[in-house]
């Protein structure tokens, strides 16, 4: 059996495309979008996290801002000189053992563990992580559903949030807004996927007239 490669057309054609470096929804711009708290301020939320002894979960569906929030938390802790260790679990591997073991060692040395994507761990690895960090500085995880840790913040999206993100990206035009909100609706409230869809529309040159104004 031989695997060959056939060419298939890209989803968007046309010679009038927008270069990736000029796309206003390119990933480095999207990655710089700050997390927006739906309620209370950061100090209040940090006090809440402290009262939970830094053992808590961040809940939310895909593309709701959990990872963005975890990065924001790391920055807040860094600014307060609170040791922390960020663990991003790759989605397509089952070999997380070394990452977990290293994280546990960091926890034993006084760092709060910030684990992104706890559901990617096997049951045994999760159990090991929860159990062996009980006496550590803390464990904050992101998850789609509630786990054995109390909820710190439940991330939710809304059309208003989408509009506010567009404004951050300098995309206030009515036509772009409508396209983005449609993408938001089609992706069931997944902001990340909606922005990817918007990227494709920009790349296809759909908004070149607006950008050239």
């Amino acid at each position: 059996m031989i695997t060959t490669f056939d060419t298939v057309p890209a989803p968007y054609g046309g010679a009038n495309f927008l270069a990736a470096r000029e796309n206003p929804v390119k990933s480095d711009r999207v990655n710089n979008i700050e997390f927006r708290l739906a309620e209370h301020d950061w100090q209040w939320q940090l006090n809440k996290l402290r009262s939970l002894k830094y053992r808590a979960s961040i809940l939310g569906h895909q593309g709701s801002g959990k990872t963005t929030l975890l990065y924001a938390l790391a920055e807040l802790l860094n600014r307060r000189s609170i040791a922390n260790h960020h663990v991003s679990l790759p989605p397509q591997t089952t070999h997380h053992g070394a990452l977990v073991q290293h994280a546990i060692t960091r926890s034993e040395n006084g760092a709060i563990l910030l684990v992104d994507g706890i559901e990617r761990l096997s049951f045994m690895s999760r159990w090991q992580l929860f159990r062996q960090t009980r006496r550590g500085a803390g464990l904050v995880v992101t998850a789609h559903r509630s786990c054995s840790l109390p909820t710190w913040i439940h991330c939710k999206t809304s059309p208003e949030l989408m509009v506010s993100i567009l404004e951050d990206l300098g995309l206030g035009d009515h036509r772009i807004r409508i396209a983005a909100l449609r993408a938001f609706e089609n992706s069931s409230g997944n902001v990340r996927n909606a922005l990817r869809d918007l990227y494709d529309q920009f790349a296809a040159g759909r908004f070149n007239d607006i950008l050239s104004r």
């Binding site: 031989i2 060959t4 990736a20």
Partner: protein, 134 residues
Amino acid sequence: MITISFDDSTTHFRPGETVSGTVSWSGLGSETDRLDIRLLWYTEGKGDQDVEVVNSLPLTVTQPDGSTGFEFTAPTRPFSFSGKLISLIWAIEVVLFPGREGFREPMTLSMDGSEVKLEKSFEGEALKPSVRVS
């Protein structure tokens, strides 16, 4: 404040040519003790970013204001290019330490002085695996 300028305002280079210019700084905080001048490429677009530093010149900073020249040899690859999904951009970057604040000035590396445009015949065709029984 950091300013990066190329000699003769040239920002298009061919492989093997000399990339030279001046880095000037003013009003640097006392915590800044060194800076790195780097020749690098990075990607921008839809997915994760890639960065590769090809060459660098470390420099000790002793004054809040100053300037220095830099000189690199333009590498043979990869060429600057842009498609819908990804752009590869060459740049001179200055990074201040210990804060790691960075400043970039883009440039182009190619044979004809302009970036390669990935039209539909290249990037517009994705590879899709299929199976053939032989």
